[in-house]
Amino acid sequence: MSQLDLLNRRIEREILARKTAERILEEKALELHHNNVQLQDLNRELEEKVRQRTEELELSRQAYKGLVENAGDVIYNLDRNGCFTYVNPAGQKILGIPAHTLHGKHFSEVLHPDNREEIVRLHHLTLRAKKELINLEFPVTSLDGRTTWLGQKLNVHYDEAGKLEHITGVARDITEIRNIQERIRKSEEKYRGLIENMELGLLEVDTNDKIVRSYDGFCRMMGYEQEELIGKDPKSLFLDEEDISFMEQQEADRKKGLHNVYEVQMKHKQGHKVWMLISGAPVMNDLGVVTGSMGIHYDISEQKKLEADLIRAKKEADDARQAEKEFLAQMSHEIRTPLNAVIGMTNLLSDTQLNPEQETYVQDVKHAADVLHGLISDILDLSKIEAGQMELAPSLVNIHQTVVMMCRTMKVKAEENSNQLDYFIGDKVPQLMRLDRNILNQVLLNLIGNAIKFTHKGKITLYLDTQIKEDGACLLQVKIVDTGIGIPESKLPDIFEKFKQADGRNTHKKYGGTGLGLPICKKLVELHGGNIHVESETEKGSTFRFELKGQLADRNSSGQLSAADGTSGASVDFTKLKFLIVEDTFMNQRYIQSILKRWSSDSELANNGKEAVELSENERFDLILMDMQMPVMDGYEATRVIRADKTNPNHRAPIIALTASALLDDRRKALAAGMDEHLTKPFTPDQLKAAIQTQLSRSGESNPAERVPLPLAFRVTKVKQEHIDMYFGGDMDYAKEMVLEFLRSLPSERENIGRLIQSKDSTALSNWLHSMYPVVAMLGAPELSKEIKTKQLTVNESEWTDDLVLWSEQLDIALSDLGDELEKWVEGQVA
């Protein structure tokens, strides 16, 4: 029974296992089926893709074939032996050979016989080098003998073992381009030839600075043969060390594509130097890539020599001019000094008792000396103007008065020639104008003088008018008309030129004069912003017109002028005066001494500035006459020393400068040094007298030695009691105390001024002035206080200037005067 059970169980297990197995197999089968279906789908898909690709390929093959067949470029295939397997129609056309005949032909058969060997050799070289891409240009010949240049690009295909498989070629007909290039090359050659013929040397270098080509012209210039230069470095061959770096800079510029021109010295083969003007420009190939540069050389050695000669000539001329200037300056001094003496002595001589014969001689000497003096003055004036050393010095001028005076003076002369001199002044002409008085006088004097000189028994008329310009300037228009001999037309253009008188020697002989008068007038008028013209007819007369550009005077300034003009007239008693004459020239000493003696004045003589200082320390003089140019110590220096030394009894004495030139500069220098007036040598006794009178009568004091002219603000005449009252509230004791205190400190304060002037310390001066003006105001000198205050403000802002010296010195005087007045005041208080 249990055996049966066992068996049953076994069978049952076997059945269950079988069923499981069957089920597994069933599942596997199903899985397999599915896989199979999927596989089939995949297969179909793949087949479809392959079909599509094939179709596409066919289409593109067709397209490519169309392209190739219709291409304008030649497209061909060569097999490994170099025989055509395909040539597109464009190729067939160029070769003039139909495809079926071409196929199988070796490519060399279509080459131009001239190039055949070389191209075949190149072909083999390429293949041996296993190159894959080749660019070639060569000509082919068609069946009917036409030659076509082809630019080719060959693609060489090798198999895996590196064996040549086939070659595809694309070629383009470049015959036309080559023809054009050829034409360009020929025209370039032509231009280079032209340049060569123009004596220009061409040199072409590559980017490594090696000569690639040198043209004949260049070789000729440098003495080399063409072959000697190829491959050489032009810098080391032609240039000196110092020029190389200069050249490198030029080359750097050229590399940037800049054209440039420069000059450099180059070594000739023979060793001498050649100056070259070089223009360099980059050379570019067809693609615009810089392949080198081209230098165009031009031999400028000749020009360089000329240039050097010119520079030398100019220097020589400049030197000569300078020498002339120095000569003139020297001459001025050398001639004027004795001449002044001659003129002076003649003046003295004519004052003595002379017999008629002697009188004539003296007049002749005087005339000759005057002419000589005029000539020298003119030459010097002209050279000063030309050297630009003349400056305008405008001041207020009374036009009417000037003309009246001028005509009055010239009337005498005019009458000598039996001439009538008249003047007309336009209604609009103002009384006062701001212009250079000297220029106006000089030009008038000259033109009127000329008119008188060249007119006999005729009329000379002066016309004046003015015109206001838009910019506010006032043009003074002057016309001088004479009825004289006139000027020939041919001479008119030269009349204002130097050393060209109307008819040269004759005029000079007959009428005298230097011939410089008109040129000087022209220069002066031009300096004054105007111009001068002449119209003339021989035997009828001449008309000179000139204009000066001035300004209208404003009302304020006109008042000042009249005040200044009103100083003359006061008489000075010369017999009580003692002068110090400072003069180094014997004749001048004698001249001045004798004039003073005639006026019964006393005088002392100093031979130079140093002596003058010494003498001035010991004795008080009423006035000092000081020459400027002297040995040992000149007049400027002496004046400064005398003015600066407050213990010197003459430190406030008037000093008149005696100078040889009328130049503004000298005048300014003299005034800056502390002088009061300026007199140009030679001077007449009257001129000297007038100058002395002006100086001594200014203050109106009886004791002139203690008085020098001072600006109004500095003239302390009397202490203003009202001011003292105002400040001290009527407390006179207190006021007196303050005044005495001021008087005590005054000497040290004045020393302060001296020190400040010497140190030229404008800040310190400003501080000092600041402390000074309130005190001065309290002590009854409001004008002086105001002047100090005003000055203090400007000093504060400005650097030290020389007019501060003069101002400070005047202030010193004013303070000293104030001291005197205060002393008087104190005395009055005591009383």
């Binding site: 066992l6 169980r9 076994r10 049952e12 297990r13 076997e14 269950l16 296992a17 079988r18 499981t20 197995a21 597994i24 197999l25």
Partner: protein, 179 residues
């Protein structure tokens, strides 16, 4: 574990004893699948472990001994079923070298769910080599039986020194020396 291992194991028990023994092992093991295995199916490895323990308890044979005998049994089966794997070689060492990188690879291709060990063969010298077995199932004694049977098959005499190199027995080294 592949069903063939189970069916072969039952065949071995029947050979050593009788079907009654097989029946008892199945019934007493009380395995989930019910014990009706088919060689082409796949079953839980734990069922084989249960069956081995039950057999060992009833028969008194150790599990290790049973596995060793099972190795002999399996190799015979493989020899008759897959002769082509054995024929190219005339010695055990060369054949064993192919198990890991060829035979089991082929098995795996056929049954992607097969659980196979790693069998590495290292030459020591001409007469000896080392076989390193490693598997999470720790059936070192089955491998032992398979190796013994292989030597017998190629009629070669080797001593086999078995040494566990890990506590769990998942890595075992067999040093084989020719006698």
């Amino acid at each position: 574990m592949k069903g063939v291992v189970f069916t072969e194991f039952f065949e071995l028990i029947e050979e050593l004893h009788d079907y009654e023994m097989v029946d008892r092992v199945i019934q007493e093991s009380n395995v989930e699948s019910g014990g009706n295995y088919t060689s082409i199916g796949s079953y839980d490895f734990q069922e084989l472990v249960k069956l081995l323990i039950t057999y060992s308890n009833i028969s008194g044979n150790s599990i290790d001994e049973a596995l060793r005998l099972f190795g002999h049994k399996l190799l015979k089966t493989f020899r008759s079923g897959y002769a082509a794997f054995f024929e190219p070689y005339d010695n055990a060492r060369d054949f064993l070298k192919t198990v890991d990188n060829y035979i089991h690879v082929e098995v795996y291709k056929l049954y992607p769910d097969a659980e196979l060990p790693s069998i590495r063969v290292e030459d020591v010298d001409d007469n000896s080599f080392r076989l390193i077995y490693s598997s999470s199932r720790a059936l070192g004694h089955l491998a032992f039986g398979l190796i013994e049977a292989t030597f017998e098959l190629y009629k070669e005499e080797y001593t086999i020194e078995m040494k566990s190199t890990s506590e769990k027995g998942d890595e075992v080294t067999f040093l084989c020396k020719r006698i």
